[in-house]
Symmetry: D2
């Protein structure tokens, strides 16, 4: 048997059992022989809990896969074929700050959308580029499958600044296909849709169920209230029916942060006043998950894990890895450089769209012009993302200010200045590029 080595950076994450489960189920077509979980010293305890569960799961499955736990990145990377990342620099504590600080100024406090995405990118990009440098040394031909958020911005940084082959992935599109499938009582793989946009800012059209065009039908269903609540970790605030009919596209539920910004921010402020942010809720869920994971009798993915909204991540990641490994020429939705896919964005802009995945990587399907109804929003968020990447690479405060000020959900450059001030103060330890 050929060696197939997969490494997960941030292996101590509570999501890891999902991934393990995915690799076990696909072992026939994707015979991972070595699976390495690597984490930082501070995450060693979690790594050992999750790692032990992983080993029990593999043992129970009876497949030939060894699970290795380590805090030595170099050792883990040596000779790897695929590296996946699911890190969280600063852990949930940093996320909670990302969410709370903008809310002080009446601005959306969300993990990836709005200022939160900016801040997470500043902490995350230097760490992932350092990982790329290590990969260039230890496994230069390996694929980096990134599902660390903000996945689109991170992938743009990696594709611009590292020769390592990388793909950004997210379960968002699959959640939309799943919801379409639910609406028609079919399986997810009987549904096809054309996806276009940026990570957490995608739209579907050309919706086909078993090859029959159901776009208009599904849009009408959507207008009438079916098909909502795509991602479990997104609050369900309905878009006006007339707007959906006018749009003629199926937006990912994250779009509510833009289309109902005023209402969403009010709702978040109330939630915060009453108790806790989404990050704080996640912290509690995580704690209870680790309680479960510790149980030496547990030999499979616990049902409670699906509450975190990551159920589809594993499917998305494993099927894309398999498509590369087996040169399948399948269509998946990934984050890749635009390279002309739509002329309405620059060539280097990372977009999230349908791509053919084979052994040489992702080849997006040409899309043409963006509809006027979504063009402006996508373009303005992309400009924010470009500036965010530049700020993360240079640590230049002026660029950081321009990035925040250019986000369509930031209502004033004066507010941008305040948020930036508070953000930098709160994250100073995680921002080596700003302190050099």
């Amino acid at each position: 048997m050929e060696r197939l080595k997969v490494v997960t950076v941030g292996g101590g994450s509570s999501y890891t059992p999902e991934l393990i489960d995915g690799f076990i189920r696909r072992h026939q077509e994707l015979p991972v022989s070595e699976y390495w979980l690597v984490d930082i010293d501070a995450g060693k305890e979690k790594l050992e809990i999750v790692g032990a569960l992983a080993q029990r799961m593999v043992k129970k499955a009876g497949i030939k896969m060894t699970v290795h736990l380590t805090t030595h990145l170099d050792e883990a990377l040596a000779g790897a074929d695929f590296v996946t990342t699911q890190i969280r620099v600063g852990q949930l504590a940093a996320r909670i700050q990302d969410e709370k600080i903008p809310l002080r100024y009446g601005v959306l406090g969300q993990e990836t959308t709005g200022p939160g995405g900016f801040m997470k990118a500043q902490r995350t990009i230097p760490v992932l580029l350092a990982l790329c440098r290590k990969m260039e040394e230890h496994c230069p031909d390996a694929w980096l499958i990134n599902f660390t958020n903000p996945a689109g911005i991170v992938t743009e940084a990696l594709s611009r600044y590292s020769p390592i082959k990388s793909l950004g992935i997210c379960s968002g599109a699959n959640s939309m296909l799943r919801d379409i499938a639910h609406a028609y009582g079919v399986e997810r793989d009987e549904v096809y849709a054309r996806i276009m946009g940026l990570n957490h800012l995608i739209f579907a059209d050309r919706i086909a169920v078993n090859g029959h065009d159901m776009t208009d039908d599904f849009i009408e269903k959507l207008a009438q209230g079916v098909g909502s609540n795509q991602l479990k970790n997104i609050p369900d605030i309905g878009l006006p029916a007339e707007f959906i009919r006018a749009l003629k596209l199926y937006p990912l539920s994250y779009l509510k942060y833009f289309y109902l910004n005023r209402e969403t921010v009010e709702h978040e402020c109330q939630t915060l006043a009453q108790g806790m942010t989404r990050g704080e809720q996640s912290l509690m869920i995580e704690k209870s998950l680790f309680e479960l994971y510790r149980d030496p009798g547990l030999c499979e993915k616990p049902a409670a894990l699906s509450a975190r909204g990551g159920a589809l991540y594993s499917d998305t990641a494993c099927s894309i890895i398999s498509s590369i490994y087996n040169n399948k020429c399948e269509i998946h939705v990934v984050n890749v450089p635009n390279q002309g896919t739509t002329p309405d964005l620059s060539d280097t802009a990372v977009i999230e769209t349908n791509a053919m995945i084979d052994a040489s990587g992702a080849h997006p399907l040409a899309y043409g012009r963006l509809p006027a109804s979504i063009k402006g929003l996508i373009q303005s968020v992309k400009a924010f993302e470009e500036l965010t990447v530049e700020a993360a690479m240079t640590g230049d405060k002026s660029t950081a200010l321009l990035a925040l000020a250019s986000h369509p959900l930031v209502p004033s450059v004066a507010v941008a200045e305040q948020i930036l001030h508070d953000y930098l103060a709160a994250n100073w330890n995680y921002l080596p590029q700003y302190t050099r």
Copy 2:
């Protein structure tokens, strides 16, 4: 002497004496032989007051120019060489509604920026396209020089839907050059700057004073507070110095509506609570101007006229007309279809930028990529403008909703629905395309 016939549609406007003054001063190089002022029946009284003043001004100047007053558009257009427009469909009463309705929902209420620009475009575009149809019949080779607001949106509609040669003009860029000139104690024509953007959303760089690059120097002056208050009819709210230094561009003062949206809306709400909108102020100014114009002893442009902020319009219009007439190959800032000037906007998008003006029209200077710092804003407002034009042409309410919802200053599609509802109700008599 060759006949040179100029027609001003909306001739009864209080701005007309500015234009007359401009034509008188340039009579040597631009020997207008017939100047026709045309207005609708409802504006006949104003037309006669302004027209009589115009005739007194021409008489005093002692030049060979006849001033004609009429309410018959066909007669006015027959054989015209240049047609200028300065109409206001629904008059100042409509403007006041445009401003007040969005403020009900905490959204910017401004004549051209935000929802106000959308509404004004819906009323104006059908009237100006009807004018174009008349021109195709009576003066197919004449130039239409449009300074009816929203000038950029209107020009986009004209360039897409009529074969009549048209240019959109605005005094904004000239006001910026004037302010640069003030800052350096030189004349306006000693200053050059590269301008890029959309009408009322332009930025300057490559600022040269007598051929010397002063860009960095002027940006620093701007950061320190010099050079503000470019247009008299825009409230003076300063941008943070650090933001200006980061931007490295000189924004038109209208940009405050975007960069300080929260503060501007608050200020407008307070102003409204305390008394009147900008439109209501304009109504008062207009009344007092017409009092002056009635005076048979007045034979020149009254000093009070400059209070309306239109002092530069005349210069801008007359010098561009002269550049066409005399095939001057001069550089002016105009609104023209992009046609590749920047690859970051579509070819048909009307932009406001430097163009070489000769007898065959305006030829914009190739610009290249937009800076990331302003790209997203320009692109998103342009997408709004495209949808606004489409809505104005079709009278389709879904498109109208998409237009309003896509404006970066509208915080929610639900709010967009409310504003659209109130706008359509208030303007029903001026919207034949929606009632067909």
Copy 3:
């Protein structure tokens, strides 16, 4: 069983048994229930010979498919799902003229490359657009699968001037994959290559055999002489090894008409002097094929048919039709509008490239910039094709002259004038658009 109706226009072609054979072999996945062969009155005899063979083949195969023969196009099209075309306006006699006339002036005389392609397009495009008009009436949702040459030019005309869904197909890319497969002793479906260019002017790179990149290896094989003779109907003239190594791309054998133009034209002139053109050879082959087809004992595709070089057409056509019918999301090489696939050609330019084929049609994989080494050739031939389409649509002689003069293999506009003169004289009966 659902009805699945396929129509072949030009059903009397000697290629038809290939197609029948393909539908029979795929009947499980592509259950064609009605297969209609339609031809013009002048082709009735051939139609009956081929049709009888087709009926015998179907009978022998024992599948549920009825074969219908008709000269009534309307009847054939009514309710069709797929329409394929393989017509030859003016038959082989016109092709022979297409080849001989340019050779008079020392210019390439070839069926699709050079002036021959121009002339064939002038005769063919009006007929196929008339077919589209009929389809709009009788089967507006059917797919038109065009393999009438010049396939790229014809597809560009159809995609611009008809709402009918159409795809242009050619066996060229499959012949390249087959030759790569031969070189490595594997099956064709174990080979993947990225294809880019125009019909009969394509290049391959990213050559993968079972997922392993063999591009450099295959290029070196090619330089050393393996893998040539891709299409049986193309003379085998080898490219210099150093050129292939410099090019780093695998060109279709048709590229010899460009890369070795001088030698090819000399060779053709000699061939002509000694005997006959390729068209005349085809005429002889066709005659002998029809002799075989007449044999009532023949119940399958005769071996001799493969001598015509169309062996792969059937595979190409049937597998693409099946991919649409079954919404397979497979990758095939087709002729489709560029729509941003490469920014080096305009959006409407039809290109030949890899596309994902599903029920909604072909979605090309974004390609990015063309390599400088092939960019100029592709762009200049495409400009010729655009002008050729325009000439065919308008019948404007000036445009026709510009088309011929702009072909890179025409050495002088004076020669272009002569060829055009002779071509129009020889084809007058087939050019209604020029005589209107």
Copy 4:
């Protein structure tokens, strides 16, 4: 008086008196205080002859300008404001070889068009980039005004590989304006035309005489034989009238090398058989010019100089330098990077087109799409130019082969191999990049 230092590299050229004459006539607006002529040691004798004439011309004119002669480049460049180049690496002997070698194979042998341009670029680009390195050291803010041929290719190399501000100039467009002016009996500055293309491959439309559009009229004149013989050094072979009418553009006479390639090559072969190439003729003219220059009684530009076809160079160069120096915002035709001027070429492609010239350089007028009739030719020659620049920079023989093979006037890659072989052998001493 401010110091204004101009340097001419290749000062010993027989063209220099034209330049001196231009600076003398413009001394009022362009007060050159120091004019340096610099040449290599091998050119010292010519430099002294030309330099002495220059000094006599300046003395006679009675202006304040010192003329310096030197073979020390560093000394000449120190503190320069403008540097012009008119070098000929390998002198006329190399040109004669450039012309003769392709003719051996029946391919155009011309100084700048076809293989000759490739070869000249290989010799010239390294020398001019070395000049740029010196300028970066001694006069980093100076302008490099290049009229060394092939001017377009050279400018593309300079703009890509050096930060020195450079403009490529050529008298071709001015010769076209002059011929239009002759046709209408007006002065050249009463004529405007829009120019687009590449150096020595330009087309004019929007032809205006005193602001009146005369395009159609002039095209008809051209078809009837007026307006030919634009450049004295181009043979006068007429294009067919029908072709000119179809083209609807005014092509530079160099276009005959493409449009009448077969005829031109035949003509050149005959000329060569009968006697001498154009390069050999130039050698004779040059010798006789230097005889004249030696005459100590000669104090002005001799009439015979105009026979070399460079009469307009001086005007072109001096007026562009003055437009930069005086920030004139005039329109001139220059070679500049495309940067979106037309979307049909890449951003870095150097084109020749109308540009506004001010103190900050050249700002081309946005052009939009190229007409289909000339698009393919321009794009294919540009691809050749890109490869030519790359070959000149790298000395890579494969790239050199691709460059020559991709030229539309080279009829076979086998011929390209032969020409390349002979060219490299004949020029080995001038090709350091190929021998490294």
